[in-house]
Amino acid sequence: MRTIHECKLYVVSGENYHPDRGLLEVMEAAIRGGADIVQLRDKASPKRELLRKARAMRELTRRLGTLFIVNDHPDIALAAEADGVHLGQDDLPVASARQMLGPDRLIGVSTHALPQAIAAERAGADYIGAGPVYPTGTKPDRPAATLSYISEAARAVRIPFFAIGGIHPGNAEDVLAAGASRLCAVSAVVGSPDPEEACRRLRGYIDRRQASRPPSPSAAARARLTVNGRAVETPAATLLELAAEYRLADRRVVAERNGEVVPRASWPDVPVREGDRIEFVHFVGGG
């Protein structure tokens, strides 16, 4: 059985993209092309119909040896014996889903900015989706999070993250260059006339990038700073990344760099450099 850490290419279903072909046919093609984790995403079907599809997907993925995730519904995931559930920011909180699913099933969370990623990680998510990297037809209302979020996530997120949103073979290399090592695609695969070939191409970019990537960040890229009076070394390039490193990105803390307050809105843009003195402070009891 595969683990989430081994997974590199995530394909999410979208039956509206292939009205003339069946769900299982398209998903099987995707898996044969190299998808190693797939998700049933269907906002339209009633639950009974959804369960029927989930059971069929479970059958397929068990046979082909890939992980299977159900979007939104822990109960369907349990009933269909899926490997886990994927939650949006407005769905059940991770803790509630964890109560229902137990410790072994996977919980993934969609995130659109680094504080959400950190929060999901702290809440016990097994992986996150990070995006949308590019504007996408799957989520037409959501502004793109852009490649900068991918770079931030690459530095600050420790659980596996899948870059998602408008990714296709034509831009996959850019996303990987920004720091992603895992990709997720919807329309570029299931909307393609040849889902297997689309996955093969995406998979090729992922594997080539992986092979050429240095094993760990080089020591030269790390800055030596003083954070709250302590000498530290960090790979962080911005104040936000530094905050994320200490799990402070989503907390009510205030930051000062070299004696000057840095408003939170500028954390993503303020660089941290060799020799900087950074303070992260908060309110505590006092008279």
Binding site: N228, H282, F283
Partner: protein, 280 residues
């Protein structure tokens, strides 16, 4: 002391209570919340400290108070001079909880006495930056006047050193400050019990700020309520007007119609009763 309006107004903000409550040193966050409820305080104070980089728990005191309508008064404790106080104030304002700041510059480690010159400098600079500055100061009437002229929204002279519970060591000065001030006077630091709060109000203070005497009382919640009642009692007493102090007694019961004749004052009272009362 402000004119006898019923509401204390600081920096243009009408306050529900004349009690300012500190949030430090309670046995637990729950006790702090209960004490806050019992006190009726509207203004609560905080300190600004470094986040513990190793701790994953959110230990910010605000987590326990998020649901309340309060005025936040962060202090600059830990600052040794005006420069550091201004830095702390700017950090506090960036938290987005208002622009009030308690200027607290204690340079002496054992007395924690406020440094008068740095406090005045910090107040001037903070007022210029648009803060509502409430300096914690020594009980010096001239210094309080200077702070007022510098733009302090209130002056907060200490009763005695922070956390000592010694009460009001110089009621004479505090009375002067209250009499002279054109901004609210909040007696801050050193109070030990409700009696001190009542005394402060009787001296003409507009409010008090307490932390340790509530937080470290055997029953902080009961003491919080006692402080609230003492402030009300002390203020009413002040407004009601106390009698002058006199050397000699004046009977509360009118002499007219008494059953027996009054003692002879010239005799100093001694044996007078025996003479007049006739005994055997």
């Amino acid at each position: 002391m402000q004119a006898s309006t019923n509401r204390l107004v600081v920096g243009g903000k009408p306050l529900r209570s004349r009690l300012f409550l500190g949030t430090g040193r309670y046995p637990s966050p729950t006790v702090m919340r209960q004490a806050l409820d019992a006190s009726g305080a509207h203004v609560i104070t905080f300190a600004i400290r470094r986040v513990n980089l190793d701790g994953v728990e959110d230990d910010s005191v605000l987590r326990h108070l998020a649901d309340r309508d309060l005025v936040f008064l962060p202090n600059t404790s830990g600052a040794a001079d005006a420069e550091e106080a201004v830095r702390i104030a700017r950090l506090a304002r960036e938290a987005g909880l208002g622009d009030w700041i308690k200027v607290e510059i204690s340079a002496h480690p054992r007395s924690l006495m406020p440094d008068p010159l740095e406090t005045l400098r910090a107040t001037e600079r903070l007022v210029a930056e648009g803060f509502v500055a409430l300096p914690y100061t020594s009980d010096d009437p001239m210094l309080c006047k200077r702070l007022e002229e510098a733009g302090a929204a209130a002056v907060m002279p200490g009763g005695s050193p922070i956390g000592t519970g010694l009460g009001l060591l110089n009621p004479y000065n505090l009375g002067w400050i209250a009499e002279e001030a054109k901004v609210p006077v909040i007696i801050d630091a050193g109070l030990g019990s409700a009696a001190d709060a009542a005394q402060a109000m009787e001296l003409g203070a507009d409010g008090i700020l307490v932390n340790t005497p509530v937080a470290r009382a055997r029953d902080p919640v009961a003491m919080a309520r006692a402080m609230m009642l003492a402030i009300e009692a002390g203020r009413l007493s002040r407004l009601a007007g106390r009698i002058p102090r006199k050397r000699y007694a004046t009977a509360s019961s009118a002499p007219e119609g008494r059953l027996f004749a009054a003692p002879d004052a010239a005799a100093g009272g001694r044996h007078a009763g025996a003479v007049e009362g006739g005994g055997r």
